[in-house]
Amino acid sequence: MSILEILALIIPAALYTAAPIIFTALGGVFSERSGVVNIGLEGLMLFGAFTGVITTLTIQDSVGAASPWVAILVAALASGIFSLLHAVASITLRADQTVSGVAINFLAAGLSLFLIKKIYGKGQTDFVDFRINKVDVPGLSDLPVIGDIFFSRIPYTSYIAILAAIVVWYVIYKTPFGLRLRSVGEHPMAADTMGINVTRMRYIGVILSGVFAGIGGAIYALSISGNFTGGTISGQGFLALASMIFGKWHPLGAMGAALFFGFAQSLSITGAQIPFLKDIPSVFLIIAPYVLTILALTGFVGRADAPKAIGIPYVKGKR
């Protein structure tokens, strides 16, 4: 295989697998930038995958090919509402945010399967009839060289994810909302003295994390797995969390990290069929994404500074 052929294999695969992680990591950015730790991304993503699939299954006969797209919106809404649990516990009730996030993960896993069993009488759903397909982007996919690498056999959701990262960056760094969100995560009391409603901003941050993780989960289920089982979401949320930290709580950084994960993973898969990588024991290729991430953090990415007030419930007047 030539390098270009290899890239034409790896890059689309990376973009394909990165999309759900990007969305979920962006959700994490919203929540943690507002000062609320979100270990619960995994659960929120799972809930999104769950609602995404059952919505598609329910409406596909009447809505048709648009159903997965509608389902993504429903999943966003559902996970947004689900994330309220985390918000109420960790903001209003001042629960330990890590604890609450862990509870979200347990709850999402238990509740979704419980409901699946209740609704369908079995432990997993059928496959959806309409998926989010990989497409050749009209026009662009015919471009020489980059057409095959960047615009062929990639679902639209991957481009939407990248676009979303840019939009989120703009919102967080260029708008009053973003400035206020960040101020609440860094120094809530300062924000309070400036008349910003800390509690409200944090609720918004957490709910947005639910919305984005829900989208991420739904995209995973509707573009990759095609159905929902207990194992559909197993670790992707944690990978998104890692991406967010790796990306230093920055939307574009998180996106870059998610793409890096996707790249390393597809390299490890494709590697088994690339001549000079073929002889390496497969376990090395399989662990490569994880080891590379650690090395990257150790070597050149440097220290990540979390938002200052993260994890600390805001209590008016407390120093």
Binding site: T175, P176, L179, S183, T193, G195, D305, K316, R319
Partner: protein, 509 residues
């Protein structure tokens, strides 16, 4: 007709278990600088937080320009023209100056923050009041004095007519204090009114028109500053007479304990901050280091105590070379250290006050035997120190976090002095404390001196350095530029030396 811009009548504010404000009345005239004076924990900040809408009072009324108002949150205060410069700065460290100022009322253009417009407005404001700042600098990169200007600009940006300054001078250098006072005067000329909280009676005497004194949550009264003097104010505040002049005998210096030779220490950005410094401190003397903040004091202390690597030069304690030894080795050689930042370095706030008392000695007998702690002995020690140093705490098991700043400081001093180190480094030991606590700490330092210990005092407060030290070393750009006798030097002269010696400068406070 309105005599007062602000009237707070019979304010009562309770916290669980404590009445922070008990029937306090405060009336501020338009265009005056009104001092609010009281011991640590008297309830000053609380009263101001009530005025600013951060707290809701249980009882009492607030009138702004004669109209009764309910200040339910800071937004309401802002609208009423009340602005507050908080005791602990309310700045987001990784935002720019402009971002901090506009936060909450951002000018936008098409949904996007119009940062250029805002920066221009900030520049204009800062010029108008002589508060020079760089609108695009990040807070974490600018000095404390500069940060305070940002705090002031925040209130002005919102069009505040009544400004509250909560202990603004505690963190400033003499120069900065002088500048601040000029700024305040300018603000008053513009028709604004100021409430100033400070523990420094001298400042009150210098700039304030009237002064309201509160003690233990109760209003004691309001006096015209022109009709009173520092002694009377102090007595009003504490409820007894206070001695300002520290009583001390002539020092009898003996052998050299600390010997610093050609010391070079770099700061966090790897720039030489201490640059070829020589200094000796003898047993039985207090050597004060005077200097403007940022001339290498922090790095000097960190170098001596082993918290920062020394680039070159040597440090000897009792003749033993301790250069670049681990911090613990240096401590064991005979060093006591009252750190500048008591929350960051001095205490583990989540540990009980008892556990904090053995922070330097927990691994030694009798507190620890073959690695096993003896909590009986630890708390016994703690009880003794609490008693001896009058640390006000419910018990030795109370978390250090729950103590007031003054009592936290006393605990640190108890711990460090009790080890009876040959060299005691005291960095800003009285920052933010009331006169009672200051008196206590100064007397402890002198007691140590009289016990034949060497004391190195670093302070930005000239008055403190002048009062307590036996000799004063002036630090400038990482070097000791002169050593003077406090009895033969005026604050004026010292200020000149601190500013670089030869250059013509007006004297400082």
């Amino acid at each position: 007709m309105q005599e007062y811009v602000i009237e707070m009548n019979n304010i009562r504010k309770e916290f669980p278990g404590i009445v922070a404000n008990d029937n306090i009345t405060l009336q501020v005239k338009k265009g005056e600088i009104h001092a609010l004076l009281g011991e640590n924990g008297a309830g000053k900040s609380t009263l101001m937080n009530v005025l600013f809408g951060l707290y809701q009072p249980e009882k009492g009324e607030i009138k702004v320009k004669g109209k009764e108002v309910k200040i339910t949150d800071p937004n309401v205060a802002n609208r009423l023209g009340i602005g507050m410069v908080h005791q602990h700065f309310m700045l987001v460290h990784n935002f720019t100056v402009t971002e901090n100022i506009i936060l909450g009322s951002e000018p936008t253009k098409g949904g996007k923050i119009n940062i250029e417009d805002a920066a221009k407005k900030v520049s204009e404001l800062s010029q108008r009041y002589g508060l020079s700042v760089d609108p695009h600098a990040k807070i974490e990169d600018i000095s404390v004095g500069m940060q305070q200007r940002v705090e002031i600009l925040k209130t002005l940006y919102r069009g505040a007519e009544i400004l509250i300054f909560d202990e603004p001078t505690a963190v400033l250098t003499p120069q900065e204090i002088k500048e601040l006072i000029q700024i305040m005067e300018k603000l008053v000329q513009e028709g604004k009114s100021i409430i100033l909280i400070t523990h420094k009676l001298k400042e009150i005497m210098e700039v304030c028109d009237r002064c309201t004194v509160i003690r233990k949550g109760k209003g004691i009264g309001t006096v015209n500053v022109s009709e009173t003097n520092p002694d009377e104010l102090a007595a009003l505040m504490v409820g007894r007479e206070v001695h300002f002049k520290v009583e001390k005998q002539q020092a009898t210096p003996k052998d050299v304990v600390l010997e610093i030779d050609q010391l070079v220490v770099h700061d966090a950005r790897d720039i030489p901050s201490v640059n070829g410094l020589d200094l000796n401190v003898r047993a039985g003397e207090i050597l004060g280091i005077a200097g403007v903040d940022g001339n290498g004091q922090t790095e000097l202390i960190e170098g001596i105590t082993g918290l920062r690597k020394v680039k070159s030069g040597s440090i000897k304690i009792n003749g033993k070379d301790v250069t670049n030894l681990p911090a613990r080795k240096i401590t064991e050689t005979g060093l006591g250290h009252i750190p500048q930042d008591r929350h960051k370095h001095g205490l583990v706030l989540d540990y009980s006050i008892g556990a904090n008392m053995v922070l330097q000695t927990y691994y030694q007998k009798p507190f620890s035997k073959s690695g096993i702690l003896n909590y009986g002995k630890i708390y016994e020690k703690a009880r003794k120190l609490i008693e001896e140093y009058d640390v006000r705490t419910p018990s030795e098991f109370t978390p250090a976090r729950a103590l007031s700043g003054g009592n936290q400081q006393k605990a640190i001093i108890a711990r460090e002095v009790d080890r009876s180190p040959d060299l005691l480094i005291a960095a800003q030991p009285t920052r933010g404390l009331d006169v009672g606590a200051i008196e206590f700490i100064h007397s402890k330092l002198i007691e140590e001196r009289d016990n034949g210990k060497a004391v190195l005092l670093i302070s930005f407060e000239l008055e403190e350095v002048m009062n307590v030290s036996d000799r004063i070393a002036v630090i400038y750009e990482g070097r000791i530029v002169d050593i003077v006798d406090p009895k033969e030097t005026s604050e004026q002269e010292l200020g000149l030396l601190m500013a670089g010696g030869k250059r013509e400068r007006e004297g400082v406070l």
